[in-house]
C-alpha cells in the first residue's frame, strides 16, 4: 500500500467523488471507506498489481475505485439500482472494473462471469453476512483471502456487537483460517474487519 506520511493514497485518475489529491495520488479517507480504515489501522491484505478481486456490496464505487487503482481486475457486485448508476459511471472511466448488478446472496446469478479471485472483499448490510461470505468463497483461490467487514448492527441491532463478532468468527472458521480481527474504531462504529485465508 502507498502512504504519503501517514496518509493512505492510491495511484490513479482523480475526481471520482471529489477526493483530495496529493502529489498526483488520490487520498483514501479512512472515515469514508472501511477498507481504508483497516489499512490505516495497520491491518488488511496488501493489494498487488496482479490481484483479482471480487467486491461484494460495491455501492457507489467509491472504495471500488481505490481498490481498482491497486489491482488487476475488480469484479464489483451491487444489487440496488440507484448506486449501480454511479458504479457504472466509475467503471466507465476505470477499465479494470467489471460491474455486475446482482444479489450477493445468489452467487449463481453472476457465476457465469466470474474467474477465481485472490481476494474476496465483502461489505454488505445484510443480517446473514457470514452466510453470504461462505456462499461466495467458491470464487476464491485456495490460499486466497477474505476481508469481511462485519456490520454488527445489520446482523442484529439488539445484540452486543462483541457477541455478533464471536458468532461470525465461529461461522467462518469452518472453512477459513482467521488471520486478523479488529474493530474499526475510531473511524467506523460497531464495524469489525475480519481477515481470513481459505484453507488449501
Amino acid at each position: 500500500m502507498i502512504r504519503l506520511g501517514n496518509m493512505l493514497v492510491s495511484p490513479g485518475e482523480g475526481g471520482v467523488y471529489g477526493e483530495r489529491t496529493l502529489d498526483g495520488y488520490r487520498v483514501w479517507d479512512p472515515y469514508r471507506s472501511k477498507l481504508a480504515a483497516l489499512y490505516t489501522l495497520g491491518g488488511g491484505v496488501e493489494l498487488t498489481p496482479e490481484m483479482r478481486v471480487l467486491y461484494l456490496g460495491a455501492a457507489n464505487g467509491t472504495t471500488v475505485s481505490h481498490v481498482a487503482d491497486y489491482v488487476e481486475t475488480v469484479y464489483a457486485v451491487e444489487f440496488a439500482p440507484r448506486p449501480m448508476q454511479d458504479l457504472l459511471e466509475v467503471a466507465r472511466r476505470r477499465k479494470n472494473i467489471v460491474s455486475i448488478m446482482a444479489d450477493a446472496n445468489r452467487p449463481d446469478e453472476y457465476a457465469p462471469f466470474m474467474e477465481a479471485v485472490d481476494l474476496l472483499y465483502q461489505d454488505v448490510a445484510q443480517p446473514n453476512q457470514v452466510e453470504i461470505a461462505m456462499k461466495n468463497i467458491v470464487f476464491l483461490k485456495p490460499g486466497g483471502h477474505l476481508i469481511l467487514m462485519l456490520k454488527t448492527r445489520s446482523v442484529d441491532v439488539r445484540q452486543d456487537p462483541a457477541e455478533v463478532l464471536a458468532g461470525a468468527r465461529a461461522g467462518l472458521e469452518q472453512r477459513l483460517n482467521i488471520a486478523d480481527v479488529r474493530w474499526l474504531e475510531p473511524y467506523h462504529h460497531d464495524h469489525a474487519a475480519i481477515v481470513c485465508t481459505l484453507r488449501e
Binding site: 439500482p81 477499465k95 462471469f113
Partner: protein, 286 residues
C-alpha cells in the same frame, strides 16, 4: 462436466464460443442458469482458446461491455415500476413541508425584531396568517422571502394533490383504506410497493415509529401503537382506549391491500367493503 459461461460452453469435447457481439452475449447470459454444485470459476484462457478473444485485455473489455449492458437493462427494469416516481414525489413533498416550516419560523423571528411590539402570543396565529402579516408589514429582503415562502406553499399544495392522485392510481386498495397521502408515505417508508406488499401487518402498523419501537425492544418502554398510520383520521380520531385496536386491525387490512395493489394493481371492491366494515367495527367502544 459441461460449464456454461458468458462467452460460451465448455466440456470435455472442447469449447463452443457464443460470438463477440456484446448485446447478443448479454441476451444469452441473462438466460443462463448455473448450478453451484458442479460450478468451476472461469479460466480466461479458455475464452482465448474458444476464439472469442485474443488477449487478457480483450477478455476484460468484452466482459465489461456484456455486464454493463445487463446492468443497464436491470436498472431500467427496476425504474419501470409505477411506484418509483411516487416514492420521489412523496419524499419531495415531506421535504417541502420541512423547508417551509423552517423558513416561516425564521421569517417570524426576523419580523419580531423589526417590530418590537409584535408577539404571536394569545393571537392563535397559524403560520399562514403570520406569513400574510409579514408580507404586508415587511420591506426588502424579508418581504421577498415571505413571497417565496408563499409560492413554495402553493407548489406544495399542488404537489400534494398530484401525490394523492398518483397514489390512488398506483395503490388503489391501500389508498381507499387510508387515503392517498398516507398510503404514499407508507410506500416511501417501506421503500417500494414490492417491499410494502411483503411486510406483515404488524410491521406496517409501526412503520415510522422506529425510535419508539427499538427503544421498546431494547429497554422495555411501552411498544408504539402506531406509526405513519396515525396520520389517518380513523386512528387519530379514535377514542384513546380503542386506538390500539383500530391501528392493529387497520394495518392488518393494509397488508392485504398492499398485496392486492402489488399483484393485481386494481381496486377490489369486495375486499374493500369487508375491510372498511371491519375497521369501523374496531373503532366502536365496547
Amino acid at each position: 462436466m459441461l460449464q456454461r459461461y458468458w462467452f460460451g460452453e465448455i466440456d470435455e469435447g472442447g469449447c463452443r464460443g457464443a460470438g463477440t457481439d456484446p448485446a447478443a452475449l448479454a441476451e444469452r447470459a441473462a438466460a443462463l442458469r448455473t448450478g453451484m454444485e458442479s460450478y468451476v470459476p472461469i479460466d480466461w484462457e479458455a475464452a482465448r482458446d474458444c476464439g472469442v478473444v485474443r488477449t487478457r485485455e480483450e477478455y476484460v473489455d468484452l466482459l465489461r461491455s456484456v455486464c454493463t449492458v445487463l446492468a443497464r437493462q436491470k436498472i431500467a427494469r427496476a425504474y419501470q415500476g409505477r411506484d418509483v416516481e411516487l416514492l420521489q414525489m412523496v419524499r419531495m413533498l415531506d421535504e417541502l413541508d420541512n423547508v417551509i416550516n423552517l423558513l416561516s419560523e425564521r421569517a417570524a423571528e426576523w419580523y419580531q425584531v423589526t417590530n418590537p411590539s409584535f408577539s404571536r402570543k394569545y393571537r392563535s396565529l397559524p403560520a399562514k396568517k403570520m406569513l400574510g402579516i409579514v408580507r404586508k408589514g415587511a420591506r426588502g429582503g424579508l418581504s421577498d422571502v415571505a413571497d417565496e415562502i408563499e409560492r413554495l406553499a402553493g407548489t406544495r399544495t399542488r404537489l400534494m394533490r398530484e401525490v394523492s392522485a398518483r397514489a390512488d392510481e398506483v395503490m388503489p386498495n391501500t389508498s381507499a383504506l387510508i387515503g392517498g397521502l398516507v398510503a404514499a408515505r407508507l410506500l416511501s417508508r417501506a421503500g417500494g410497493l414490492a417491499t410494502l406488499a411483503r411486510m406483515p401487518g404488524s410491521t406496517i402498523q409501526v412503520l415510522g415509529s422506529e425510535r419508539a419501537l427499538f427503544s421498546h425492544l431494547r429497554g422495555g418502554t411501552p411498544p408504539p401503537k402506531h406509526g405513519i398510520i396515525f396520520q389517518h383520521r380513523r386512528v387519530h380520531n379514535a377514542p384513546k382506549d380503542v386506538r390500539g385496536r383500530v391501528a392493529r386491525v387497520l394495518s392488518a387490512k393494509l397488508a392485504i391491500a398492499a398485496r392486492l395493489d402489488y399483484y393485481r394493481g386494481e381496486a377490489v371492491p369486495e375486499f374493500l367493503e369487508g375491510a372498511q366494515a371491519r375497521i369501523d367495527e374496531a373503532g366502536v367502544e365496547a
